[in-house]
Subunit: 154 residues, 2 copies
Amino acid sequence: MSEGVEWALHSCLNLAWIGPERAVKAARLAAYHELPAAYLNKQLQALVRAGIVTSVSGPRGGFRLARPLARITLMDVVAAIEGPEEAFRCAEIRQQGPGAAPPGGPRCAIAGAMGRAELAWRRELAAHTLESVRQRAEEQAPDAPERVRRWFAG
Amino acid sequence: MSEGVEWALHSCLNLAWIGPERAVKAARLAAYHELPAAYLNKQLQALVRAGIVTSVSGPRGGFRLARPLARITLMDVVAAIEGPEEAFRCAEIRQQGPGAAPPGGPRCAIAGAMGRAELAWRRELAAHTLESVRQRAEEQAPDAPERVRRWFAG
DNA sequence: GGTCAGGTACTCGGATACGGGTTGTCCGAGTTCCCAGGG
DNA sequence: CCCTGGGAACTCGGACAACCCGTATCCGAGTACCTGACC
């Protein structure tokens, strides 16, 4: 899986802690974790296309969350970065060569089983919102929100 | 995910239908679905290293299942081909840059949430054996075993 | 003093290179079978 | 006729290239702010 997913998730949490008052530019979000600024910008563009964050150009521009964390699931972010297609793409090789199965039949049993597993993964991702992740993070490190706010303010 | 997983799963089912009496060479397994023979051989080597199939060199050589389908899970095959490492590899970026979290603390909440989702995926894969997949496939196409056996015999 | 137009600086957005990993191919190591020769 | 040794053919196993996607970067499009002049 692309590491851009991890960057996007951390950036969303940071944006939430900073607050919706002002937009934050990509370079500053990147500097907080020493990431390549231009590349993080590219990932944030994907979040914009998915409607998770909004962007403003020009001075005082940057990114901010499009909706509260409670309405953003892990699945939303993963789908925005990785794309909507499934990880296990069945090429239907059973319909190739001498062993070709008659077309029009039911779905390949292998594809079905792999699909169910991937569905479990997606369900788990869709069941957890970033709000729950934030709560857990604040339980573990209660000073995290304040520290983020301070650094991005200065 | 590597498409070699799909090839390996189909090959295991075919090996089971052919029966453990004689070994089947990689080129013949590949021809059944018009796959590149040398590359399928490479994937089968991974299954050998994982102990899922056994190999014999020389004339009359080839591959055969190392144990019954009931003792081979989808997880076994995926781990053999894809490797044991997790798909979501947390680079711990929160410990880099000005926003570095104090080391030694609990695990990153994001990594935890993603890890739970991936665990659900792995649980689902580990819960289904190839035997259950075979049963389902035979329900959908009762003549599949006989067709496979015929083709590989001739 | 207030208003407006122009210029400037700043940031996102998409088009453009680079590198690592999956995909694909090849030849050598090892084994089995066949065959000829000898007892 | 039976046994044995050598050779040959066949298949796996790992080393070697090609292609593609994820990584990284850069410059142009668009916008807000500031400045200066004008009313």
